[in-house]
Each structure stands twice: as structure tokens, then as C-alpha cells.
């Protein structure tokens, strides 16, 4: 098959990529295979470790409260097998007669040091309960998924309302942060103006003061504006720079983009805003996606700001709702895990979708030389 014929059917950009990919990995040398193998091995090992919290969370969400902390821990939700006899619910076990013989299913009636009182489990052949050694008896368990935990968790509090609130706040905040942070970072990275370096340090410095001490004065400011118990304290700061973290990140990214792009556009009569909007932003796709993901996750899971500024239950967000399952002394762990899994799903969806935009910027290849 003539590779050129293949290429001619695609767009120039894709063809360019295709050629590069083929030229780099066309030769499947031993070295390449070994590297690939090592990479996969490392990734699989790492995945196993990094997946653990998620697996634990999901598996706990299907267990009953008393089985979550059993030791040894099992990922599969299991529970003791029981049967009814004479109106009582008794645990089932497997009894292996010490003198040899097939293991039989027995009911456990009672216990005393080192011994258990067992009775044959089939109702067909009634036998007298007898005492046997504890070691010969193994309690039986079965797999049971407590899916009702999810329904119970969702109805324990008005989670539908919380979801709508959180969606609204998060979408507003993403828009605000992406737009305003990229705008402000442009000033720090691409323009020269008096006081720029000082303000940059000042901006970084806003991250250095622990928020525990600024919580009260900030609360007072919002109180004087009358914004308590509204979404405004959660949304407005996102439009005003969106936080030093994102501005700093954008700025670092802008600085990696060559100035020649700016200058070429300038010569063509483009305004600063045009350079920002038409030239730099499109090149920032990876960082834009990253920031959008961070912003989404941050606001989706933020519970401190909603806790402080929202009073009425109908304004609460999902993160606050999750705390409905945590008390001073006890935690409804099974419900908390079920609710947490549900709350996590949109984050995963957003992340997986965002992956599509993690593409290398190819446009640069045309500029140099």
C-alpha cells in the first residue's frame, strides 16, 4: 500500500501528524518494544495503587454499615449467610467432620469457649443440635450488593436541588475563571506597564496568608454588601481574576509561547485584545482544558465557602450535602460513600471529555525557519 495515497485523503494537518507518528515508530525495534513493556508495567502497577481509594469508596457504597470495616477487608460486598429456623434467624456455616467425611451445611445455635452448637441445616433430616469444635466450623458468607444505599443517600437530603445549585455555581465559576484569569495573565506576561512586577508578587502573596484569618474580614465585607445567603460570594470572585493560582498558571504558559507570534499579528494590525483572543488563547488549549477541569473540580467539591456564606438549605451545594452524613460522633459511612460516588461521577465525565482537547499545538511548526 502506497503511504502517500493514504495521506492524500486526509487533511494536511492530520497528514503531518500521521507522517510524524509513522516516522517515529515505524521501526519496531527490540528497544522500542522493551520501553513500551516497561511503560505499560509501570502504568499498570501505578494504576493499581492509585485506583485503591476509588475502589474502596465504591465497594463500601454497596455494603451495609457494619461490614464496611470488617477485617480482612474485601472489595466485594459480602455478608454472613443466614437461614430461619423456628422463627429465629441463625447464621449458616460449613462443618467439616474431623474424622473425615463431606462438609455439611449447618446452623449455628450457640457458643461456648472453643465450641459451637450446630444443627444440620436441611429441614428434611432433622438432627439433634450437638457441640463440636470451633475449628471445624466455618461461617458462610454471600455476595450482596446493597444498592438501596444509593436511593437512601439521595433521598436523605434534597440532593437534586443541591445538584442544580452546584451545576449553576460551577458553570458560572468556570466561565469566570477561564476568561478573567487568561485576561489578567496576559497583562502580566505580554504587556509592560509600571508596577507590573510588584503587582505580580502581590498577587502571589495573596495565596500566602492562611485563609483562616481572612475568613472573618471577608465575611464582614460580604455581609456589608448584603450578599450573605446568596450565590454571589461564590461566583463573583471568579470573575475578578479567578484567583492567583490560575493567573500564575496562565502567565507561565504564555511565557512559553514565542513573541514572534505576537509581533507578526501586531504588524498585521491586530490589537492587544485580538492577539490575546485570536492568537494566544487557541494555542493554550491544553492549559485551558486543565484550568477548566481544575475549576470544575474545585467548585464542585468546595464545601468551605458554601458552608460559610450559605444559610438556607435550599441554597446548599453537593459538597455541603455530603456532610449531612458526617456527624460529631458517627458517620453513616455506607451512605456517605454512595453519595460521594454519585457526586464524583460528573467530575469523571468532565475529565474524560476534557481529555479530547489535550492535543499538542501543531501550529508552531510553521513559524520557525
Amino acid at each position: 500500500m502506497n503511504p502517500n495515497r493514504l495521506l492524500s485523503r486526509k487533511s494536511p494537518r492530520q497528514a503531518h501528524t500521521q507522517t510524524r507518528t509513522r516516522s517515529r515508530f515505524a521501526r519496531r525495534s527490540i528497544k522500542t518494544r522493551i520501553t513500551a513493556l516497561i511503560t505499560y508495567a509501570a502504568l499498570l502497577l501505578g494504576s493499581a495503587v492509585f485506583l485503591l481509594p476509588f475502589l474502596w469508596m465504591v465497594s463500601s457504597s454497596f455494603k451495609s454499615l457494619d461490614t464496611i470495616f470488617e477485617y480482612p477487608p474485601s472489595l466485594l460486598p459480602t455478608e454472613p449467610l443466614t437461614a430461619e429456623r423456628d422463627g429465629k434467624r441463625l447464621p449458616l456455616a460449613e462443618y467439616t467432620p474431623p474424622g473425615g467425611g463431606p462438609p455439611q451445611r449447618v446452623l449455628l445455635h450457640d457458643s461456648r469457649p472453643g465450641e459451637r452448637l450446630i444443627e444440620a441445616a436441611d429441614a428434611g433430616s432433622p438432627t439433634q443440635p450437638r457441640w463440636v469444635s470451633e475449628a471445624a466450623v466455618k461461617p458462610l458468607r454471600r455476595i450482596r450488593f446493597h444498592t438501596h444505599n444509593y436511593a437512601a443517600a439521595w433521598t436523605a437530603a434534597p440532593f437534586t436541588r443541591f445538584t442544580l445549585n452546584t451545576l449553576f455555581i460551577t458553570i458560572c465559576c468556570i466561565l469566570g475563571q477561564v476568561l478573567s484569569a487568561s485576561l489578567v495573565a496576559f497583562a502580566f506576561a505580554r504587556l509592560r506597564w509600571p508596577g507590573r512586577n510588584l503587582l505580580f508578587i502581590l498577587m502571589l502573596a495573596t495565596m500566602m496568608l492562611p485563609s483562616e484569618v481572612t475568613m472573618i474580614p471577608t465575611y464582614l465585607i460580604f455581609r456589608s454588601l448584603g450578599w450573605i445567603d446568596t450565590f454571589l460570594p461564590l461566583i463573583v470572585p471568579s470573575f475578578l481574576g479567578g484567583g492567583a493560582f490560575f493567573i500564575f498558571l496562565f502567565r507561565q504558559f504564555y511565557l512559553t509561547l514565542p513573541r514572534e507570534l505576537d509581533e507578526a499579528a501586531w504588524v498585521d494590525g491586530c490589537s492587544s485584545f485580538g492577539i490575546y483572543w485570536h492568537i494566544l488563547l487557541p494555542l493554550c488549549k491544553p492549559i485551558l482544558v486543565t484550568i477548566a477541569i481544575f475549576s470544575f473540580v474545585g467548585h464542585w467539591n468546595d464545601f468551605l465557602t458554601p458552608l460559610i456564606y450559605l444559610n438556607s438549605a435550599e441554597h446548599f451545594t453537593l459538597a455541603v450535602g455530603l456532610r449531612f452524613f458526617q456527624g460529631e460522633y458517627d458517620t453513616d459511612m455506607h451512605l456517605l460513600m454512595a453519595a460521594s460516588t454519585l457526586v464524583l461521577l460528573p467530575v469523571l465525565v468532565v475529565f474524560l471529555i476534557g481529555q479530547k482537547y489535550f492535543v499538542k499545538s501543531i501550529v508552531l511548526s510553521g513559524i520557525k525557519g
Binding site: 457494619d66 466561565l175 455581609r223 446568596t230 485580538g274 483572543w277 444559610n311 460529631e328 460522633y329
Partner: protein, 441 residues
């Protein structure tokens, strides 16, 4: 300028769309998020009432508010649920911002400092005017917690005390009677705990422990049982260094390090204690009445409640409580009082009991509603304890601060790095300095 040059490059339709989108968003933000209770002239007075807790607590308060709002038109209660461990921090922020709720649920531990510093309305005149309250039979340990210098700053709506949850299957398997004697002593307890600490599979490691590890705060009942006290009546200094108090602490120290009936720090399967009891790792579990509802979810163990064992001098257990206060800055104090009266009425208290969130603070309601004849467990033992041997601890003004000092040094005791002598000799001077207010900042 630059902006207008840019705008000109954007097609008209998109410009309109962008403007409409922004306006819509801002409008939604203002409308959707902004709703504050405004008492219109002539309409019902709206009072804000805050509480903490889980979903179940929210249900309790919602039912109380629903009933209260339904039976009259003058006052509407608007509940504010503050979740997480940050109830306290948010309350302080609201206080500084002068927008604290009219009625606030108050925890006993930080209470005294808040009351002394004028956060709460003095309820004594309200109680004097309201004849009905003179006849209410609040449990004294709950009621007295909220009293400062003869003035009542909060009224308890709920309380707890500590008893022992024990595993009857494991007692039988260990050759003991399924239930301990109701008047058992420290020696009986030690004997049972030793019998219940077993290596079940013969691998040399203890699989089942007789009891759980106690913090210094959970050792107060041993101090009282030994005839000691935590502080003097005026709460000016700690009395941990008396021989009786030391004896109380030593009782638990021996349980950890001498008899090994509770796990050492390194033997902790790092699950929480509740889980250890439910999975059979711990046979006797010291906790409060708050855990009844959750424990009932365990279908696999045969358990019951035991009174605390009698010590060398007496029998004692510790109680804790939660109360309702009126904010000193509230503008609707009379209405707030109406709401509190309702919560503390028989009807209101019965709601708490039905959800099993704790012991109702009114004794006659507690005896009517708290024991559950349908369950085999003897939860009335909590009420018996409240009647006879429950005490409140000394929650002085700087309690949270001294508690941290005790936590730190008790960690060393649990690790086996300090003896009770070391513990007492270190913490008492430090704690007394804090109580005296020597650190003026």
C-alpha cells in the same frame, strides 16, 4: 480602542448572543441565589434557628419547625443547618458580622466562654415569668451545664451519658454469663475484660479485646468512681494530682499496659472503635446514648447495654448535653422564646425521642419515650444512670484549650511513654496556668 476594534470583528449575531448570555447569567445569579427572610410589616415574624448535625438531625428540626409553624400564624421559624465540624467557626463569623441567628443550638464544651462574653441572652427572667418552666423536670446534669454564676443562659433539649455496650455472644463464648451483674464492681469488670481478651485462632496475636481504649476525657468516670474530682467546685484548678484521681487514671492505664485488655496504640486496627465493636474485635465498648440508633443497624451481633461498674467509692458516669440559646443581639427575643418553649414541650421532646438522637432533657418525657419495649436491649439503663449516678464534667471557660494539653500528654500515656505520674505532673501545672488566664493573649 482596542476593545472596540475587537468587538467589530465579531459578527452581530454572536455579539447579541454573548450579551444576552451574560445578562441571563447575572440575572439568574441575583434571583436564584438571593433570598433572605424579610419580615414584611404585618406578616409573620421570621426567626432564624441554627443547629448542627447529620441528615437525621435535620429531619428532627424540620419536623419541629413544621409543627410549630403549623399551629400559629405569628411566628415562622426558618432553620439553618450548619454541617460539618465548623458549626462553631461559622457561629463566630456570624456573631462578628452581627447576623447571628435568633436561636442557636449550643454545644456544652465551648459554652461557658460564649456565655460569659455575652453572646447569649440571660434566660433567667424568662424562666421566672414563665410558670410552666418552674415545673419542668430537666435532668440536673444537663440543666446545670448551662448555668453561669446563677444565671441560666441555655436550656438543654437533648443529652447523653456514657455506658457500656457489650457483646453477649462473646461473653458466652468466653464462659461468662451473657450479661454482667447490674451491680458489678471494678474487679468484676477487670475479670470479665481479661476473660474476653482472647487469641481466637492461636497465632499468638490477640484477636478480640475486652474493651476499647479510652481518652483522658472518658476516664473521668473512673476518677469519680474512685472518689476523686476533675476540678474544684469553683473551677479554679484541676484536681488530677490527688490520689483518688490518679487511681482512676491508673485503672485504665493498667487495662492497657498491665492486663492488655485493650489494644495498645500499635495494636489498633485503625478502624474506628464503633467498627471494632461491630466486627467483634472489641467486646465492651464505652460510648454514649447517641450510638443506639446506629448500633441497632448491626443485625449480626447480640448486644446489650450495661451500667458502669462500681468503683472503690461509688459509681459514676459522664453526661454531655446540647441546649438552645437566644442570641443577645436578636431582635425577636419574645418570639424566640416561644420557639424554645415549643421545642422543650412534651410534644417537641417526643420528636427527639422518636428519632433516637439522644436522651430527652425532660425526665418524664424521657421515661415515656426513650425506652423501646420492642427491642431486647435495656436502653432504660441510660435513664437509670441519669437518675442516679450521671455527672457533668467541669467545662470551664478555657476548656477547649486545656483539652488539647490533656490530649497531647495522654497520647504519650497510650503509647506507653508516660506513666500516670508523668502525665499528672506535666498537665496539671500547664492546665492550671491556662485556667488562671495567665496567657493574656
Amino acid at each position: 480602542m482596542a476593545a472596540s476594534a475587537f468587538i467589530r470583528t465579531v459578527p452581530m449575531r454572536q455579539r447579541v448572543q454573548a450579551c444576552a448570555g451574560c445578562l441571563l447569567l447575572l440575572g439568574l445569579a441575583a434571583l436564584y441565589g438571593g433570598s433572605k427572610p424579610r419580615s414584611a410589616a404585618g406578616g409573620p415574624v421570621v426567626i432564624r434557628s441554627s443547629f448542627w448535625g447529620m441528615a437525621q438531625d435535620a429531619q428532627v428540626w424540620q419536623e419541629l419547625a413544621r409543627r410549630f409553624n403549623a399551629r400559629q400564624n405569628r411566628i415562622r421559624v426558618k432553620l439553618e443547618h450548619i454541617t460539618g465540624q465548623d458549626y462553631h467557626a461559622k457561629l463566630l463569623a456570624m456573631t462578628v458580622g452581627r447576623c447571628a441567628p435568633d436561636v442557636m443550638a449550643a454545644d456544652d464544651e465551648p459554652f461557658r466562654n460564649l456565655a460569659i462574653n455575652g453572646l447569649f441572652e440571660d434566660l433567667t427572667p424568662y424562666l421566672a415569668r414563665d410558670r410552666e418552666f418552674a415545673r419542668k423536670d430537666f435532668y440536673p446534669p444537663f440543666y446545670d451545664t448551662f448555668q453561669v454564676d446563677g444565671h441560666q443562659y441555655a436550656l438543654p433539649y437533648l443529652g447523653h451519658c456514657l455506658l457500656i455496650y457489650y457483646n453477649r455472644d462473646q461473653r458466652r463464648a468466653a464462659g461468662l454469663s451473657p450479661d454482667p451483674k447490674p451491680d458489678w464492681t471494678w474487679d468484676d469488670f477487670t475479670h470479665d475484660a481479661i476473660a474476653l481478651t482472647r487469641d481466637l485462632d492461636g497465632d499468638g496475636k490477640t484477636d478480640q479485646f475486652g474493651m476499647n481504649q479510652l481518652s483522658w476525657f472518658y476516664c473521668l468516670q473512673w476518677i469519680w468512681s474512685a472518689g476523686g474530682r476533675d476540678m474544684d467546685t469553683a473551677m479554679t484548678h484541676y484536681l488530677f494530682d490527688t490520689p483518688e484521681a490518679r487511681r482512676g487514671f491508673q485503672f485504665h492505664y493498667d487495662q492497657i499496659h498491665k492486663y492488655h485488655v485493650c489494644p495498645r496504640a500499635s495494636e489498633l486496627p485503625n478502624m474506628n472503635w464503633e467498627a471494632m465493636f461491630l466486627t467483634g474485635k472489641v467486646s465492651m465498648f464505652f460510648t454514649g446514648s447517641w450510638w443506639l440508633v446506629q448500633c441497632r443497624q448491626a443485625k449480626n451481633i447480640d448486644w446489650d447495654i450495661a451500667p458502669l461498674p462500681r468503683g472503690p467509692v461509688t459509681r459514676a458516669t459522664r453526661s454531655t448535653t446540647e441546649g438552645l440559646t437566644i442570641s443577645a443581639a436578636s431582635r425577636h427575643k419574645a418570639e424566640a422564646w416561644e420557639w424554645i418553649r415549643f421545642v422543650l414541650s412534651d410534644e417537641g421532646q417526643a420528636v427527639f425521642a422518636r428519632y433516637g438522637r439522644g436522651i430527652p432533657s425532660l425526665r418524664h418525657v424521657a421515661w415515656q419515650t426513650f425506652p423501646d419495649p420492642k427491642t431486647p436491649q435495656h436502653e432504660e439503663r441510660f435513664l437509670e444512670a441519669m437518675d442516679t449516678y450521671a455527672r457533668k464534667s467541669s467545662l470551664h471557660k478555657h476548656w477547649l484549650e486545656t483539652a488539647r494539653v490533656f490530649d497531647r500528654e495522654w497520647d504519650r500515656v497510650l503509647l506507653g511513654k508516660s506513666t500516670i505520674d508523668d502525665f499528672v505532673r506535666t498537665v496539671v501545672p500547664e492546665a492550671n496556668a491556662i485556667v488562671r488566664g495567665e496567657d493574656d493573649l
